[in-house]
């Protein structure tokens, strides 16, 4: 009788243990497993691992604390921990990718300088050829249509600005400075913008007749400040600021509300 009771108690204990094991799944909760998987991805990405700063260490630490204590936290603390760890993982990824892009930008900038130097050497002979010759003849484009001579002159100017984003359109020669050529939300020029403007100034300083306008897009105050910053920069490099008109293109005219580009327009005469 006593032996059978012992067996019954043992069986009950084993059953309880098995039941307990069955209700607690092995390993971390799914949210923590997802975060660990995200961290594994970041560590195996050479762009991120090679540029990881303190942000990745913080994310590692947060997920580690969460993983070790997930089963003992109450719902509120656990949810908060997952929320914060998730954002820290995002910060780690974005920060590392930003560093990667910045380093790559510096390498490409050096490459651009090298190519610009080669381009300048190779075009010196061409640019020394008097442009007057082009002005005195009718120039045709590939479509066979007549091209106003001033357009040809603008194209010659464009050729003297290697490395500068520009195009010739109905308004004239348009040099574009994207939003990222300025400090975020400010009118301060970034080094790449200054490099572009140096090239523009070298060409315009020797041309006292060109009509120049700086057209800025975006919110009124910022756009005006950026247009004036560009004008002042050119003025300081030999382009008479008094002949540079500045214009704020109204927000409603912009292609999109986040369009904050600035364009320098060297006006064409297409009569």
């Amino acid at each position: 009788m006593r032996t059978s009771r012992k067996h019954w108690l043992l069986a009950a204990a084993v059953a309880l243990t098995l039941a307990a094991c069955a209700t607690v799944p092995p390993g971390p909760p799914p949210e923590v497993a997802r975060l660990q998987s995200e961290l594994d991805r970041l560590h195996s990405d050479p762009r991120i691992a090679g540029n990881a700063g303190p942000e990745l260490a913080n994310a590692d630490a947060a997920v580690d604390v969460l993983a070790r204590n997930a089963r003992t936290l109450d719902t509120r603390a656990y949810t908060q921990g997952v929320y914060i760890a998730d954002r820290l993982v995002g910060i780690a990824e974005a920060s590392a990718l930003a560093r990667y892009a910045e380093q790559r930008g510096m390498q490409l900038g050096a490459e651009r300088e090298r190519l610009v130097a080669r381009e300048t050497r190779s075009t010196t002979v061409i640019t020394q050829t008097p442009v007057r010759v082009e002005r005195e003849v009718v120039v045709h484009d590939d479509s066979g249509q007549l091209v106003p001579r001033d357009r040809a002159e603008l194209l010659a100017m464009q050729n003297q600005m290697p490395g500068v984003e520009s195009r010739v359109d109905a308004r004239g020669l348009v040099i574009r400075l994207g939003d990222f050529m300025f400090e975020p939300g400010r009118d301060a020029l970034t080094p790449p913008a200054e490099q572009s403007l140096d090239s523009v100034a070298r060409v315009l300083a020797g041309d006292s007749d060109a009509a120049i306008a700086v057209e800025a897009y975006g919110p009124d105050g910022l756009a005006v400040a950026r247009a004036e910053a560009v004008r002042d920069y050119l003025d300081a490099r030999g382009v008479d600021g008094s002949r540079i008109a500045t214009r704020n293109v109204a927000y409603r005219d912009s292609i999109a509300s986040n369009d904050r580009r600035v364009e320098i327009v060297i006006r064409g005469d297409y009569r």
Binding site: T72, A98, G185
Partner: protein, 120 residues
């Protein structure tokens, strides 16, 4: 360099030390959250990471609402969320700006290579 103390806070939460938050601590959290969200706005997060900025604003609103009700635990909870989400918005803005600038330089380098007849 930014210092993040969230892992430390997570550890405190684990030990139960973060269960009750006093008014001063909650107000400090709220101030830091406001600073982080303002910083994200200055970094043009409205352009480059609008959903993160919106969420940071929503968390900040919740924290301020909890503050109106003197619910310091929830002030701290939502302020922590607003701060870390504001920092995320700033980081993503920086990433997008850097990538856009690099893509711009890459285009000009490609164009120059073509002009010079170099192989890409």
């Amino acid at each position: 360099m930014k210092r993040y103390r969230f892992p430390l806070l997570a550890a405190l939460a684990v030990s139960g030390a973060a269960a009750a938050v006093d008014r001063d601590t909650a107000q400090l959290e709220l101030t830091q959250a406001v600073t982080a969200v303002q910083s994200a706005e200055r970094d043009d997060a409205a352009l480059y990471s609008p959903s993160d900025l919106d969420e940071a604003h929503a968390m900040l609103d919740s924290a301020q609402s909890a503050s109106d009700h003197r619910d310091w635990d929830n002030v701290a909870l939502y302020a922590e969320r607003a701060k870390v989400t504001g920092d995320l918005a700033s980081s993503r803005s920086r990433q997008h700006r850097a990538e856009a600038a690099t893509a711009e330089i890459e285009r000009t380098v490609d164009s120059l290579r073509q002009q010079l007849g170099d192989a890409p």
